[in-house]
Amino acid sequence: MSAQAADVRAGSVEAAVRSLPVRAARLRDGTLAMGWAELHKLRHDHLDIFTRSVQPLLWLFIFGTALQHNHALSGGSGDYRAYLAPGVMAQAALFVAIFFGLGVIWERDVGQLQRLLATPLPRLGIVLGKATGAAIRALAQAVVLLIVIAIARISIQWSVQGVVGAIALLLLGTAGFACLSMILASLVKTRERFMGIGQLVVMPLFFASSALYPLAIMPAWLRVLAHANPLSYEVHGMRDLLLGISAGGWLWLDFAVMSSFLVVTAVVAAKTYPRAIL
């Protein structure tokens, strides 16, 4: 091979990867490869799903039952446990997602991250694949929760499009929060510090949202925060789809907010994530 040919070929590799279809295909394959690995990890560790499902069930059956007949909390819709169900589903997924970054720090401390970054995988594909892993865990957890809700005869409105739609929203949200977690993970040096920051982020996100109580009964300042909190939109939409009670038919807005949230966090994470190795 002549040197010029080598140069031309080198140039053409770089030029080819800039074309949109090639980039899209690489992104798809990269995301699938990472998602595939995450799925197999979960397969070896399915107990994790059940242990993680305990906490949301405690919220639902202890907190929910204690306040079962409080009409202010349930937005006037009757059974508070039904009102709370989408909230704890979203909350459980949020916990999975926010502490997902811990795995990134672990992978950096061993050598996996450096190795991944030296493969042809696109950065955005790595991030989206990891986020898919978090979403798969959230999906498994949501199925467990829905089964328990059905057995306990908590009165949500069962419909195929309702359940599918709510889960879709839940997965979007989980992937978005997992990307947020990866951004945080790339900014801190140690696992201990990340735990602290995770707690610092997760509780305000949870309380300044409509997961536990309707926006209407919040003080005005908290309501402003809740409106800026993606979790509120996730829960709002899920409640709309599972209970049919959220007023206003703003479902499209919930999906739009959660999709944009995922796009923004994923793009930022793809930029900050490689910095994690330094």
Binding site: A10, H44, D109, G111, Q114, L117, T119, P120
Partner: protein
């Protein structure tokens, strides 16, 4: 030199490093390093911890941008053509890169996908890599249950799936017992004979380097202190062993290298591998 001549040289020399400088703030980790590696060669970067070996490898594997100077791998500029470089290389970092939560086979499958090995070829490539590194007996075991020697061989196998033009190994035998170490080298020798793979390896095991490498660059404080074949280096300095060459060029500071952080990391690693 004309542009064409330079391009020709790049194509011939699979690794070409010219005046490489990497600074982290005030610290100069690599302070003007130049060397090249030809096809089929096993090239060793030697030196104490903190000499700049890993930093150099990180530049060549596109993980770090150089502050100054240039580097080409398989004819591609590591800065401007990062993707082409990543497609042409195999890289086994010093720390563990296997996913402990996946089985050995799943790790191979994953890296096959990650390296972009087409689906129809993947199974065959995995079988070849399994044979080359003798992994057949533990393919179904989870990564976290494997011994240090098994992990290293598995890691090298995952780096072979795309038939790399250059294989980068960062301290491949650190923390391994002599038997495991011998097996790793034995497999690498075979790989070189059969596939003619070019290998760039870092180590601070002098006897190992002396036995395995065609040429050696001794690094010290971010610079190359001596470069040549083991025989050349020994005769140039008139000493019986490579270890003595090192003492000659560095003034015997082999023991002083490495920060607390490096030492802690390598001890932790050997504990995990051992």
């Amino acid at each position: 030199m004309t542009a064409l001549a330079r391009a020709e040289e790049r194509a011939e020399r699979l690794v070409l490093v010219d005046g490489l400088v990497v600074r982290f703030g005030e610290v100069e980790a690599v302070a003007g390093v130049s060397f090249d590696v030809g096809g089929g060669e096993v090239f060793g970067l030697l030196g104490p911890n903190g000499a700049g070996k890993t930093t150099t490898i990180r530049v060549l594997t596109t993980l770090l941008r150089p502050t100054e100077g240039s580097a080409f791998v398989a004819g591609h500029d590591v800065v401007r053509e990062g993707l082409a470089v990543r497609q042409a290389i195999g890289y086994v970092p010093q720390a563990i890169s296997i996913d402990g939560a996946l089985t050995a086979y799943e790790n191979l499958e994953f890296y096959g996908r990650a390296m972009g090995v087409p689906r129809q070829e993947r199974r065959e490539r995995i079988e070849e890599a399994v044979d080359a590194m003798q992994l057949a007996s533990f393919l179904d075991r989870l990564g976290r249950t494997l011994s240090g020697g098994m992990l290293r061989r598995l890691e090298i196998a995952t780096a072979l799936l795309k038939q790399p033009v250059v294989l980068f190994l960062d301290e491949p035998t650190v923390g391994l017992d002599p038997t495991a170490r011998r097996l790793v080298w034995e497999r690498l020798e075979l790989l070189r004979e059969e596939a003619g793979t070019t290998v760039l390896v870092t180590t601070h095991q002098m006897e190992e380097a002396e036995r395995q490498c065609d040429r050696i660059a001794l690094m010290d404080r971010g610079r190359i202190a001596a470069l040549g074949s083991p025989v050349e280096l020994r005769s140039r300095f008139g000493v019986p062993a490579l270890e003595d060459v090192f003492t000659e060029v560095t003034g015997g500071r082999l023991e002083e290298g490495g920060s607390f952080r490096d030492v802690r990391a390598s001890r932790r690693r050997s504990r995990r591998l051992g």
